[in-house]
Amino acid sequence: MQGIVISDVIIGILATGVRLLAPFLFASLGEMFCQRSGVFNLGVEGIMMMGAFVGFFVTLRLGNPYLGVVMAILAGIVLGLLMALISVTMQAPQGISGIGLHMFCWGLSGLLFRVYVGFITSIDGFKPLPIPGLADIPVLGPILFQHNWMVYLSILFVPISWFVLFKTNWGLKVRAVGVAPQAADTLGVNVNAVRYQCLMLGGALAGLAGAFLTVGQANMYADNITAGRGFIAVALVYFGRWNPVGILLGSLLFSMMNSLQLWIQVLGINFPYEFAVILPYVVTIAALAVAVKNVWAPTALGKPFRRESI
């Protein structure tokens, strides 16, 4: 522990935590819209994988990471449409179709990587973009304002999502469709259209989250690059109780705990590292368990809508 300034460590922990936040925030906010409209998309992990691959591949071939991000979002939208086709139109059980989508995307991204790239190579992704003025503030600067632009964007998405969900007409429709689809239908809302839109939005954000991993974080691609992050993102939606602010708190808690465990290990505090690795998982469950009990959920979550079956 010699030679370590405690305040630097604390700043380091918080700054790392903020950087780890982005993929969870993107994917969770997207999944929140899906679930708010009544569709449970367990395929987020798979969409993230495809987003990660597409973002990487486009950047590798065209040398433009921005284009990579755009294409990853498009790929996410297409996969969101596929999920919508299966779980909204075909009314398939959503948990299982999500697992199917995950398997398909895992295989497809691995295949495309093998056929069209074939070896591990690196790309030039986004560099940190310190915000002039703000980045120089002591303590807060390094924690919040010295990341790449996608990190800022992910945090910006929290108030935007909140506004869209609670203050716009479309957000009202989404919430109505997730709570009382029959009633919304009678009032002239096209239930399935809203659900399609939400799944496409969720897919886009999951694709973006995946692209962050390759273009904004690792600057490379490898098989199974998401390593379970998509499932965590789905779990965080429940943690956040379908509210953008709650999701921000959940993602913050999870990524701060992850950052903390990395720093604990790095600074050589001696205990089996497995216990460090599981810290975020344990704390997330514990935090929710001791939080105020609140079992509210979109009541139509997981139930396909059929006009005929009243």
């Binding site: 370590i4 974080q217 690792a218 600057n219 490898a222 098989d223 998401t226 390593a227 992050r229 050589g268």
Partner: protein, 333 residues
Amino acid sequence: MKRFTKGLTAVFVLVLLVGVCVGFGEASSKVRIALVLASTTDDMAWSQSMYDALLALQKQLGKDKMELVVSERLGNPVDAGAAIRQYADQGFDIVIAHGAQFQSVVFEVAEDFPKTSFAYGSAFKTAPNVFAYEPLAQQGAYLNGLLAGYMTKTGIVAVVGPVESGDAVKYNYGFEQGVRAANPKANFRIAYTGSFGDVVGAGELAKVHMDAGADFLTGSSQQAVGAVRACAERPGVYWLATDMDQSSLAPDKVLASQVYHWEKLVSHMLDLRAQGIIGGQHLYLSFADGTLEFRVSPKLADKIPADVMSKIEKAKQEIIDGTLVIELPKGTK
């Protein structure tokens, strides 16, 4: 009609004879090798080092002399077991299960196919038709450690580990000894991602190491490539590679690599088979027989002071002579 039947029979017999001859001819001249991998052939680490080596060997021997098939992504022992058994069933001469985790299943299948050679590692346990192989990873690790210890400016040297087991433990332990030998005051830090394949996690861990002051980093298994790439972002930081030469990922950062020359080990195995020895031996990769290589990146060679290089060369020679023994951990923590 009779003549026709006779003719047909003759042709049939001829075809059969030719077939048998070709069959025998093939069996004697062509060696058939099957490779079973836990990750992929392009993981830039443990699995790829073996796959590339076998490809090189095939090129050397010629495709008509050596057949090579590979089955990847067999991280769980269930599917790996099916693959190993199927290859043995199909009459492959050597089935290489490239991972210590395949021990159980290799022994089980080996019992049922006594004429087939099996090889796996890193491991110690052999059977009459099972070779165990093991890179003396601690030796190259020691040299990497020396390099880091002598050259670190911040005095902080770090390991991005996967899971604390097997080869990773040996490598890390050897590395630590090297660092301490070169620089007793160095701050040696070690942390694990808890996963063999999480490249993003390894990258983040490397960033934390660097934020905390480390300027020499190393790490093993396929997750490590994420850490290599993370190093490329920071000035004044170097990476020391193992398993294979990873400098293509970060040409300005990978100072040296411990490279495994599996092709020599496999070719030795073929020689043994030619002598009728189909297993039962414990084979090593070591500096002594050139199966381990300590490769300094040609591009960065001038960054290493001459006296450091000569100390490393000396240590390497002592390892080869046997005067310097790199210790292994006494049991696991």
